[in-house]
Structures are given as structure tokens and as C-alpha cells.
């Protein structure tokens, strides 16, 4: 048996270490360790509740708008305020544009180098050597697209900034709505950029994902994971937040069920936190670090839904919502062009490295096309914001989705100050360690059984990990 440590796993946000035992060419055991703690939940205590939507964005520089969204929803809920239609739509547009940015960045700049051989210069060397299977011509096309995609993702951030003020870390979403009243010129400016992004998604990103997938078909059978999925729902389509573009829901041991956020608990037996804080619902959650705890191996907690690990992210959202896919999917599956292929038609293939990557690309198109309609629903000149007073005492929660998965914020307010604030983020769902019962986290579970042909160049390990966009 060989022990393999990959630390750092690069090309992701944050600090992640992966440790696996390999026996007979396959992974037998896996540990996922988050090696960074900053203590946001401790820092938030005692502050003005409104500051939370700024401070929590700094948890993640790739998905700040997702934290911003969850935070303002959490504050809306605690303050008892309902943003006007323009406010809801602007929030959707800001978050949507950041989803497009994040998904394009993930494919081209975070995962592509595991499939495409980059230029022979730093920082593209050193690299794992061996399993690059693309025809040299296609490989070159992909490298050219790497540069094009840099420009496209930058334009997505221009869209974020049009209503968010700047990106990353936006100022445009606040409790009670959005800060900007939409104007006709902003709307046009946004739509014009979106058109270019849509052309890139339809004409380049999606076809390239399926083209690369064609050369690595076996990876539709690698990294299935726990096959339990959780989605919190994102992009509300009405002001009461009852309907969503991507729906909330859970898929547990083969069965669908409506989401019930009271069924979430966070465990810490294997995390560097005080054991006394284990098994709590986030509304009562505590963050008491214990960095020298012997059983601990991660600063990430282990959240569980109905006491079971659940994978979050594009795969979960697409499985729960089950939308019709692009025609690229028909071609790839050899199905008639007129047939409507839905995400669940992928069957078991969906639960894999490439299933997650395809889900992300298909979702990117779904969101971009929806944004194209939302932008025209804005009412120029109409308010985006309603003023709300800080309640003396209140509890609240906000559920949304980051590009990488389900994200929830919980607040309790006392004397108009934050008494407790807890964040349960996407990467915690996926990259967390074992729970108190010993169930592996979703990434750990996905690594079990992964074939490792060459221990010095463990391509499939990093492919599995990065397919989650941790």
C-alpha cells in the first residue's frame, strides 16, 4: 500500500490537502483537509448586522457575490423586509454574472490543465506527465481558448460591476434590495456584454467540454461519490421567493424530497474544533477552534443533511431541477437532435468527474439565457431598495447557492448587534472530513476506488477533487 499526500492541491480557492492510500492501483482511503482558518464567525460577533453582507463576501474571492446574496437574504429574513422587484432582479443579475465568471474560470483556468497540455513554461511546468490524450491540434485550440476565456471571464466581472459597483467583492447588494436604480444605458451595457458571453458559452465553452470529454470517456465512470445531493435553490423568480430558476431539494439514497433546512447539522469530531460544539444546527452553531486536537485533520466542519453526507454544486442543482440540456448533449449521447434530453437522462454518468464538469457547463448556458430575459424585466427608474431598521432582537437565515454549491447563512441578533453568525458554505459540504459516525465527506468518498495508474503522476486524484470546484 502506498500513501500519497498532495499538499497543496493548487488551482482552487483556499488551502486544501488530500491524502490517499493506494492499493492495487486504486484508492482505498482518503482524507480531505482544509488547512486554513480565519475565524469569520468569531470576527462577526458584536458587529452591526448590516456589516455581515460585506465581511462575509471576503470568505471567498471567487464567489463573494454568493456570500453577499446569502447574507442579504439572511438579513432580509431577520429584519422582516421584502426587496422590490428591481432589487430581486439586480441581485440575480449580479450573482448570475459571477456564476458565469466562476464556471468559465473553473473549466479553462482551474481544471483544463489536467486534460490539456499547457505551454512548456512556468507556471505551466512542472506538471504531471503522461495522461494527456488530446490530439495536438485540439490541444492547441484549447490552449488558445485559455487566453480567450481570460478575456471573457473579465467581461463577466464588468457585468457584475455594472450593478455591483466593483468586482470582486461587491457593494451593490444590501439588506432591503440593491443600491442602484436601473437605467436604460446600464441595461443596454449589461445586455451587450451578456450577448458576447452567451456566444462564447454556446459556440466555444460547451462544445469544447464535450470535445474534451470525448477523449476521456472513462472519466464518466470515475468519482461517483456519495450520490446524495443537496440544493438550496437560487435565482428567485418571484418577489416572495417561492419559485427558482434552480430549485431547492434533496436527493437522498435514491429518493427526492423537499428541502428542510432544519435537518442540517454540523459535526466536528474530525475537525479542529472543540468537541463540545458537535452536532449543532447552524442557527445554534459555535466556532471554537482547537488546532491541536488529536482526532482533527481539517479546519472544515462536516455538515450533514438528515445525518448523511450530501454533495452540493452544479451536479446537485442540475439533478434536482432536471432541465433540458443543450443540443451538444444530444450529439454526445448519439440521440436524435429533436429529442429533449434532460439532465437525469445522463443516468449514472452524471455522478462522475465529467458529469460534474458537464453539469457546470450546461448550467452556465441555462443561467446566461435566463439572465437575458431578466435584464429586460428591470423597470428603469423604479426603486430597487426599501429601507429597513435593525431589529432589537431577531433570528434569520438565508439560503442560496454559490457556483460551487449550497450556501447558507444564519444570524441571531441581540440589542441590534450580531449575537451569533454561522456560515455553512458549499466547500464545507463537499470538502469536509468524516462525521462523528465515521461517514466520509463527499470528496473523500468520491476518491475511493479512483484508479491511480502512476503514483508519481496521480492525474485522477486531482481530477476528482477539482471536479467539485472546491
Amino acid at each position: 500500500m502506498a500513501k500519497l499526500v498532495i499538499d497543496p492541491v493548487t488551482r482552487l480557492e483556499g488551502h486544501l490537502k488530500i491524502e490517499v492510500d493506494v492499493e492495487g492501483g486504486k484508492v482505498k482511503d482518503a482524507k480531505s483537509s482544509g488547512t486554513l482558518f480565519r475565524g469569520f464567525e468569531i470576527i462577526l460577533k458584536g458587529r452591526d448586522p448590516r456589516d455581515a453582507s460585506q465581511i462575509t463576501q471576503r470568505i471567498c474571492g471567487v464567489c463573494p457575490t454568493a456570500h453577499g446574496t446569502a447574507s442579504v437574504l439572511c438579513l432580509d429574513n431577520a429584519f422582516g423586509v421584502k426587496p422590490p422587484t428591481n432589487g430581486r432582479i439586480i441581485r440575480n443579475l449580479i450573482l448570475g454574472a459571477d456564476f458565469l465568471m466562476s464556471h468559465i474560470l473553473h473549466f479553462y483556468h482551474l481544471v483544463a490543465l489536467d486534460y490539456v497540455k499547457g505551454p512548456n513554461t512556468e507556471p505551466f511546468i512542472p506538471r504531471y506527465e503522461g495522461d494527456y490524450r488530446l490530439d495536438p491540434k485540439i490541444n492547441k485550440v484549447a490552449v488558445d481558448q485559455y487566453l480567450k476565456a481570460l478575456d471573457i471571464r473579465q467581461k463577466c466581472h464588468q457585468m457584475v460591476a455594472l450593478f455591483g459597483g466593483k468586482a470582486p467583492h461587491v457593494y451593490g447588494m444590501v439588506v432591503g434590495g440593491a443600491t442602484e436604480v436601473p437605467t436604460v444605458d446600464k441595461t443596454v451595457s449589461f445586455k451587450w456584454r451578456l450577448k458576447e458571453i452567451q456566444e462564447f458559452i454556446d459556440g466555444t465553452y460547451l462544445p469544447t467540454v464535450y470535445l474534451v470529454a470525448g477523449a476521456y470517456k472513462d472519466l464518466f465512470g470515475v468519482g461517483p461519490g456519495c450520490k446524495n445531493l443537496i440544493a438550496f435553490g437560487v435565482f428567485p423568480l418571484d418577489d416572495d421567493q417561492k419559485t427558482f430558476l434552480l430549485k431547492p431539494g434533496a436527493y437522498t439514497q435514491g429518493k427526492d424530497s423537499p428541502l428542510d433546512q432544519t435537518q442540517i447539522k454540523e459535526y466536528v469530531k474530525y475537525s479542529w474544533y472543540d468537541d463540545k460544539t458537535t452536532g449543532l444546527h447552524p442557527s445554534k452553531g459555535m466556532t471554537v477552534p482547537d488546532p491541536n486536537k488529536k482526532t482533527g485533520y481539517s479546519f472544515v466542519k462536516a455538515p450533514r443533511y438528515r445525518d448523511l453526507p450530501h454533495e452540493a454544486g452544479p451536479l446537485a442543482r442540475m439533478w434536482v431541477t432536471n432541465p433540458v440540456l443543450s443540443k451538444n448533449a444530444n450529439k454526445f449521447l448519439g440521440a436524435d437532435e429533436k429529442k429533449e434530453i434532460r439532465f437525469r437522462d445522463l443516468g449514472d454518468k452524471a455522478f462522475s468527474i465529467l458529469g460534474r464538469i458537464a453539469a457546470r457547463a450546461e448550467e452556465c448556458k441555462l443561467i446566461a439565457d435566463a439572465m437575458d430575459k431578466w435584464i429586460m424585466e428591470l423597470k428603469p427608474g423604479a426603486p430597487s431598495y426599501v429601507k429597513a431598521d435593525i431589529p432589537k432582537e431577531a433570528m434569520g437565515f438565508g439560503l442560496s447557492e454559490a457556483p460551487r454549491g449550497a450556501l447558507g447563512h444564519w444570524i441571531s441578533i441581540k440589542d441590534q448587534k450580531i449575537d451569533n453568525y454561522q456560515v455553512c458554505s458549499a466547500t464545507i459540504w463537499n470538502a469536509g472530513p468524516k462525521d462523528d459516525k465515521g461517514n466520509l465527506g463527499p470528496i473523500e468518498q468520491a476518491l475511493i476506488g479512483t484508479p491511480v495508474k502512476d503514483i508519481k503522476n496521480p492525474f485522477n486524484i486531482v481530477r476528482v477533487v477539482r471536479s467539485f470546484d472546491p
Binding site: D7, T10, K17, F37, I43, I55, L113, G118, R153
Partner: protein
Amino acid sequence: MPISRRQFLKVFAGTGVAVTVSGSILPEIVSALEKAVAGNPPVLWIQGGGCTGCSVSLLNTVHPSIAEVLLKIISLKFHPTVMAASGEKALEALYKMADTYKGKYFLALEGTVETAADGKYCVPGELKGKEITIVDMMKDFGSKAAAVLALGQCGAYGGIPAANPNPTGSKGAMDFFKDHGIKTPVINIPGCPPHPDWMVGTIAYALMFGIPELDADGRPKMFYGTLVHDNCPYRSYYDEKKFAKSFGEEGCRVELGCKGPESYSDCWKRGWNNNVNWCVHNSLCLGCTEPGYPDRFSPFYVKTTG
């Protein structure tokens, strides 16, 4: 065409014409740097207690594009979010590079140096079974660098991780070096995140002319030399005492909590994301380029008394 220090400053400090086009870097600067890129000292980029937002902001550079920056200006040899390698391969390359270019390379620090718990709160990697903390990295690579680029609020002043009660003992590069007697010069490039022009411009300047002139808080004067409030397009509202009382209203944003009166940067003329918007136009300035952020400006949405 050679470019003088004076011309360079013109582009960035805003007396030149080019700055009206969203802080574009003169093509002459790019071509001057391009000639030298093969021999340029490399930039080694490490990440401590941060969020990767500075890296994401760097990718948002427009003129020059990030492709031009990486191919023609900055010889970026190590960057955890961009590089191909993982694990020991990546870390070994970092140690090798730091030895090869000892005393010549620029070390970019994104995120804080988390000093509590013997550095255990931030472990960016492992080598031969030994955990390498951000404290270890800053001692090793910081002391061998020609200069440190302390990026963002975090790298410069500790930022949000260092906010009260600073549970991780987070520090910016200058404070950390002071504690450990490390003499390497530090250039602070604060902001949450910093504008890409501030990062690219400072690196370009350093490559061509050495360390730029810094203010008392260690920031390049060419970017951080002006008070937002004095130059704000909404300043006339302030003078007329017309104040926005709610988001979306016309008027000066001071009553909403704008920190422009205490914040130094050139956001007011540079704009963000290809100059499509900026914080005060959108809502208000929160003082993210200033030492002491966020605590000094918290609560954010309340008029400052200062």
C-alpha cells in the same frame, strides 16, 4: 521606444491623457517591458490567510490584458491558483526558484500572515512530511526577496482576518517583518481587493525603475496619493449640503456612511472593471485602502464622526 520615469508616472498619476481610458498602460511601457521579460526578475506569489480575491482582481486587468501581463510583463513563476503542478512538485519548484533568484525575485503576499497557534491556522503546503506554514514561508522567502509586494488589505495591514478579536494573530507583511527583524523592503498595495492597475502598475514600475515613492503607510503615491472625498464627482453635492438619505438617491453619500473623507486612492478617476462603475457611484466608499479597515470604519453604514 524607451520610456522615462516621468512618462510612466503621467500615465498612472492621471495627468496624462491615457488615464481617461480606464488607466490603460501605454503601449510603449508594454514594449519596453517585453524586451526585458526574459531577463526580468520573477514574481513568486504566495497565499496566506486570504480569499484569492487579489488574484481574481489581477485577472481583471484590461489594458494590458492579463494575457499580455503574463506573457510580456510579469514573469510569474509560482502562483497557486494558476500553476499546473500540485503538491511536492509545486513546492519544490518554489524553493528552487527562490534559491536560483535569491535577492532578485519579488515576493507577492496575498492574504495575511497568521501567526497564532504556531502558524497552524494557515498551512499552504507540506514537504517531505513537514507542514510548511505561512510563517515559515514568509521567513524563508521574505528574507531572500528583493522586495515584497504586500497585496490587498490582508497582505498589507491584516485586513478582515486581523479584525477584532483577530482570532488567528493575523498580520500584514511589514508588521511581521518588524517582529522578525527582516529588512526586505515592503510595498503595500492595499484595497479589498486592490485595483488590477495598482498591482500591474507597481510591478511594472518596480521592474523598470525600482521601488516607487511610498506614502507614510507604505503605499505607492502614484495610486494612493489623493483623498477620495476631495476629488469625488459627488463633492459639489457635499458643498451644497445635498445628501443622499437612501440608496439610489442623488447626493453626497456621507450620510449613508461613505468613508471617502478618510480614504486615499484614485478610484474616483480610475473606476473599476474597465471603468464601468466604482464604489461611490454604486453606493459608498468603505475605506478598504486604509490601515485599520474594517474596524476603523465599522459600522459601515453609519455616518462617520471623524
